[in-house]
Amino acid sequence: MPVNRREFLKKSVSLGAYSMALASGLVKSGPASAEWIAEQFAQGKLEETLKTLFKDAKITESDKIEIQIPQIAENGAVVPITVTSHLDGVDTISILVEKNPVPLAARFDLSPELEPFVSARLKMAETSDVIVIAQAGDKLYSARETVKVTIGGCGG
């Protein structure tokens, strides 16, 4: 199958998914919703992904974003992470893995009914920083943790 036809089908399938989701009320339309945007999940460097997500907006490091994640990942296929933000007004939490081919793992758009808290399990290709960006209105805050991903010995 020629590459461009596959790409076309992929795009139309994801558009189909999106419009189905929109129709079923799954996805809020509008800028604040975490609809699936291919460019955000493109392969590339962390910096490029951050630019796609946030343009040139200033991201301030914050110690008010708590990341619970193991220092050493038993298996890079499943790395549990819990993010708790102690900042006010956080409505979006993005989780990125710096060295993954696709740095963006997930974006969570949370209504005020939810605490700024999210848990997930990530894939990590290699030892890397895991970066969390918390968005509170127009302001962006970040925190990061380094996770060692080891090649196993006899159990690996």
Binding site: P70, E74, N75, A77, G152, C154, G155, G156
Partner: protein, 284 residues
């Protein structure tokens, strides 16, 4: 007399049991083996109680334990338990059920396996008992490493959760003792290109690092099966893991539920008698 002297020499050195298979005939004494086995680990890990060994390497690797506990919050084997229950309760084509083959309808019996079967003259693991039940009811056997057998085991193990490993070697059937001894011999026999015995990693080097891994103690090795292994991304059985170990030491393959593996499981389980089972579980 000679064998008694030799035995004391063997047991006085730390590596006494390791890798030394002598041609001397020795009378198997499982309870003594068990005591020595536990003493060895007691020296290595003085802070651990017997029940701690149910957690395997997570009892001795605090960083890995954190990761494991986070995953146990909502474990990936959850679905397998439900699927296993449905499989277990579904009748065979002839209308009979698994429950008819097992004591107590199959509920809370997993911790008593493997068992010595007098009629068949062999060690029966739970997996083998399931397939024997299927054969008795004109159903095709299930493959032994994953999928439905692992789901059934997940359910059965779950109903036994918390109950102590309870393995019996009947005193009045010397074949049972012989099977136990064969399992023990297998455990201490060096094999493969790497020339390792199970004991090399899991007795001699338990708690030490092999590259980035911390080697788990064999005490309690059978307590937590079947397992959702992150590496497999799915459920698998103990014998699947045995096979993998052989691959990793570059030894010739042995099939799941072969007599060798069943006897090995018999030996290992008996060493862990009293440890609370906590299958199914997650491992890396």
């Amino acid at each position: 007399m000679a064998s008694r002297i030799l035995k004391s020499i063997l047991s006085s050195s730390v590596g006494g049991f390791i890798g030394l298979l002598l041609a001397l005939p020795s009378q198997a004494d499982p309870l003594q083996d068990q005591q020595k086995f536990r003493q060895h680990y007691q020296q290595l890990f003085p802070k651990l109680t017997l029940s701690d060994y149910a957690d395997g390497v997570y009892a001795i690797d605090p960083i890995a334990r954190q990761s494991w506990q986070a995953i146990e919050e909502f474990p990936p084997y959850d679905e397998a338990i439900e699927q296993g229950e449905a499989l277990f309760n579904a009748p065979f084509k002839n209308g009979r059920r698994y429950a008819d083959c097992f004591p107590n309808q199959g509920i809370a019996i997993a911790h008593e396996y493997p068992k010595w079967n007098r009629d068949k003259g062999e060690v029966i693991t739970l997996e083998k008992a399931i397939n024997d039940c299927r054969a008795d009811n004109q159903e095709a056997p299930l493959p032994y490493e994953k999928d439905d057998i692992a789901r059934l085991l997940a359910y059965l193990a779950f109903t036994s959760r918390g109950k102590p490993i309870t393995i019996t070697i009947p005193a009045d059937d010397p074949r049972a003792l012989a099977a136990y001894q064969q399992g023990k011999d297998f455990y201490y026999q060096r094999r493969g290109q790497l020339n390792f015995a199970c004991a090399t990693c899991h007795v001699q080097n338990a708690g030490r690092q092999l590259r980035s891994e911390i080697l788990s103690p064999s005490l309690g090795h059978t307590s937590h099966w079947p397992v959702y292994r992150l590496k497999w991304g799915e459920m698998g059985t103990l014998h699947r893991r045995f096979k993998e170990c052989l691959e990793q030491i570059k030894a010739p393959p042995i099939p799941a539920q072969s007599p060798e593996f069943r006897n090995l499981e018999y030996f290992l389980s008996f060493m862990g008698n009293g440890i609370p089972t906590n299958g199914p579980s997650t491992r890396k």
